[in-house]
Symmetry: C2
Amino acid sequence: MSDRPELAEAQACAQLSALAHEGRLRIFRALVSAGPKGLAAGVLADKVEISPSNLSAHLAVLTTAGLAQVTKAGRQRIYAADLAATAELVSFLVADCCGGDPDLCRDVTAKLAVSALRACN
Amino acid sequence: MSDRPELAEAQACAQLSALAHEGRLRIFRALVSAGPKGLAAGVLADKVEISPSNLSAHLAVLTTAGLAQVTKAGRQRIYAADLAATAELVSFLVADCCGGDPDLCRDVTAKLAVSALRACN
DNA sequence: TCAATATTTCAAGAAGTATTGAAATGAAAT
DNA sequence: ATTTCATTTCAATACTTCTTGAAATATTGA
């Protein structure tokens, strides 16, 4: 036993923990809906109604987990959701599904694709 | 403001919380990989190396969140992952993405589909 | 009925996470 | 230089969730 899926597992768990909080979930979804341009922390604070210091802590959790990226712009910090990382997480969740049955697998893939499409209209 | 996306938000949060635990994440993925036939609690306990009472608590969290289903078979209980619910959760995570930009949206959908495909081979 | 098996329930201590407001940092404007 | 603005850091308290083992429940087989 010398393979290392441990890192991925811990990472996925950290990402899920980051999302597993009502405030952070709102924050993350606000970032997703803002798109790649992202949002300044202050704008976010208004949008999700969370105090600045609290928001800052939550954003740190999301970025540390790899679900958001920060860039500095003058005195503000712009946060953006990392959708590639999000897709990776989803992939990890349903990995090796269905006991290798290709028909079932296709079904799962289809469901996910439909979900994604529905989300993106 | 009289729309009610609150239920969905709380539900999604509960599901993410359920997954946001190293042991439960292993449990859930074991169920995913077992497919719709599911696994008896005892078999799971061996597979993920969690004590029966602890496992039972974790399975209760997953089923209450709607990510797993139980059925009784004699003196054992068979648990199975709910992949439709999982797809719904993913959908919720990336809802309204990209500020409505159709090109970006297509990109996100593609990423999710690719992730799903990669997971299912 | 009795014993064995599979699983859940319970209680309590241990560990981890959230929230708060005040103070600190760092960048821009005056 | 000083002030203002955006954000983060800190420390303390409050809150939730985990884990454990022992006891309870429920089902099957002898």
